[in-house]
Assembly symmetry: C2
Homo-oligomer: 163 residues x 2
Amino acid sequence: MKYTPFSIVLIVIVILISCVNKVKPVHSTTGPAYGLIFPKGERILNDNFKGAAYLYPMVSADSLNPSDIGNVTFDPGARTRWHIHPAGQILLAIEGTGYYQEKGKVRTLFRKGDVIRCPPDVPHWHGASVDSGFVQIAITGRQKGPTIWLEHVTDEEYHSSEK
Amino acid sequence: MKYTPFSIVLIVIVILISCVNKVKPVHSTTGPAYGLIFPKGERILNDNFKGAAYLYPMVSADSLNPSDIGNVTFDPGARTRWHIHPAGQILLAIEGTGYYQEKGKVRTLFRKGDVIRCPPDVPHWHGASVDSGFVQIAITGRQKGPTIWLEHVTDEEYHSSEK
């Protein structure tokens, strides 16, 4: 039995459609619809973030636990202001690619699977890279008071090259 | 032009191979090769775990930070002993399906995206479900001393039904 080119094209299309529907890419790092583990939460509306960022609070600090824990999603280009954590912060990158910079140091890449310890009282900022969304778990010590927010990250600082 | 069945089978095989190579399933929850965010780390060899479990330490507690943070992977069926955390523990499920149980309560499912706070001084256990691997981030307060390990979870307890 022989097949015409048209019927072959039809078979190929059917196969490709079922391929696409069965699996999903591991990385979907543009726009907000990343490979989510935790809910994205609510859009952060205060002026401490530039661009679109979202917070899903997971654990609040209390007498038994000293740390707030939250899932923070940054759309491409979004970032925090420069800021300080009096008791430090630990960041776990769980999706996409971001940036991290401490005052006086170069901006570094912050990729899915990376872990960063932000030291207490050191000004720093973090967010998504220019062309990728980014999701982090933030574990923030609250035993020495709230975050101290500083100036916005300039475009020049944001786009500074990594050494 | 017409094609024989043999050449069509060949074309289909080539297309399917390129489908498989371009994308990966989001969930690979059997065996150890899950959709990893953090490295799996080393196999845990002590007697505090039953079945195959792996630890990737991420942050150690010190004078600035009160918590150990680690990525723990359980193969299907693997679990901890009953144990106590004097300063409590926070668990973030990031892959697969597991179980969690506190003494005197029923065993509950613990799924990717769930967050559990293990209270201080409450005996509990956790691990993978019987047919799925499981990956958790464990944030363990060390300010009141190390984990206290108790008896192994019996097969009856492990397989007890969730209400």
